[in-house]
């Protein structure tokens, strides 16, 4: 059995779409690894999930879904890593779907989009009586004064009764 898993692990390192589809269907616990740490494209952006609400007076300002920042002792103790990685993973999955799905209505039904929407939908209201909500993913690069921010995904506007 270990030999089988090892051989499957080797195959899993190659970008074979049919194999990957099969694996994602059957390997629910992601036992088979895909070992490409920070390669070929190193993760060099910070990923933020932001949202805004609309009421009769217009839109609120974009607000971050709160995520913990890294602590000074993160080499030993890094509890915020799970939440920060959640945004990255969900956006990564959404970005992969965007490459293959042209129809925005179909894209909205992908697991990662639905997960992001569910997460955003649970956030507190930004205005007293919101009638609609919209979310976006923004990427940041650099630190301090050199920090740049750009939106990479903007959802459609969801009425608060849409879901």
């Amino acid at each position: 059995m270990l030999a089988l898993v090892f051989v499957a692990s080797i195959v899993n390192q190659f970008p074979i779409r049919r194999w990957q589809r099969w694996v994602s269907r059957w390997d629910q616990f992601t036992v088979l690894p895909h070992w490409t740490f920070f390669a070929p494209n190193p993760g060099y952006t910070g990923t933020h999930l932001v949202y805004r609400d609309r009421d009769d007076h217009g839109w609120s300002s974009w607000t971050d879904v709160p995520l913990p920042g890294p602590s000074g002792w993160r080499g030993l103790w890094n509890p915020g890593r799970f939440e920060r990685k959640a945004v990255q993973d969900l956006f990564g999955g959404l970005a992969r779907s965007v490459r293959h799905i042209q129809d925005p209505r179909v894209l909205e039904l992908t697991t990662c989009h639905l997960a992001l929407l569910t997460w955003v939908d649970a956030q507190p209201a930004l205005v007293a009586s919101p009638t609609a909500r919209q979310f976006a993913i923004v990427e940041t690069m650099g630190h301090g004064a050199n920090r740049s921010v750009r939106p990479v995904f903007v959802s459609r506007v969801f009425g608060r009764g849409d879901r």
Binding site: F29, E83, K85, T118
Partner: protein
């Protein structure tokens, strides 16, 4: 001389330590991360199609799964894989890990994956009826996964223009999630250092497979470099669990090397 039992014991304990820290960290952020507004809320987990019985049975008491996982992992560290207590801890740990994967379908990383593979391989050696070669096979499996991880990662970096031209490390150090502001500015102003470090990572990961055929001194040197590499990654990038899950498996690599290399 590294024995299979020693290599498996060290790898298992280190993996348990990595998983224990993960469980404790998740328990600490439980209210925020697993609560109704968090990324691992029951509603988000449902989107991924987890089984209904898990929702009914575990949602009200999921924090106890994290506590049980942490306790089992800590017991695994203390008891090792070859005692009755260690076997019970392994079973509980596998169960808690599976439950957590259902509730937290994203946010896994390579360290968690390596630790889980190590615990699963160790668990298979405990199945009744397994012969005396099971421990050795598990060690081969763990060592093989580690070598495969470095080789794949090294090749993926070597074919990447961003890595080859030395831009990757300053970019990573400039990121919020894994970056370090002072190191980022240091690497951006000293491009030669940046390129040298980037190529050092590529070469280390690509060359690591040489342990399978090299002399003992080369293997020891590569393992020492690997340990330093993971310490640096933990300090600068916050990859704390990698520090235990990967170097913890180095004795498995040493065992495989001493059995396979004619130059050992």
């Amino acid at each position: 001389m590294v024995t299979a039992e020693l290599a498996l014991s060290v790898a298992f304990r280190a993996s348990c330590a990595a998983l224990a820290i993960g469980f404790i960290e998740q328990r600490v952020v439980f209210r925020r991360a697993f609560g109704p507004t968090g990324p691992f809320s029951p509603s988000v987990a449902d989107v991924f199609g987890r089984p209904g019985w898990q929702r009914r049975l575990l949602d009200p008491r999921f924090q106890y799964v994290l506590v049980a996982g942490a306790a089992a992992a800590a017991t695994g560290v203390a008891a090792g894989p070859f005692s009755v207590l260690g076997r019970v801890a392994t079973a509980v740990l596998v169960l808690c890990t599976a439950m957590t994967k259902w509730r937290r379908p994203v946010s896994s990383d390579g360290a968690e994956q390596m630790a889980v593979l190590t615990v699963l391989a160790t668990g298979l050696t405990m199945v009744p009826g397994m012969g005396p070669g099971a421990v050795s096979l598990a060690v081969y499996f763990i060592g093989g996964q580690l070598i495969l991880s470095y080789l794949t990662s090294g090749v993926a970096k070597a074919v990447s223009q961003t890595w080859r031209n030395g831009a990757a490390l300053p970019l990573i150090m400039g990121s919020e999630a894994y970056g370090h502001p002072s190191l980022s500015s240091l690497l951006q102003t000293h491009f030669f250092l940046s390129k040298a470090l980037t190529w050092f990572v590529i070469l280390f990961e690509c060359v690591f497979v040489v342990v399978l055929c090299g002399p003992r001194e080369v293997t020891v040197a590569l393992l020492a470099v690997g340990l330093g590499f993971h310490v640096a990654c933990a300090v600068t990038m916050g990859l704390n669990a990698f520090l235990m899950a990967f170097p913890g498996s180095y004795l498995c690599v040493a065992y495989v090397a001493q059995r396979m290399s004619v130059l050992w």
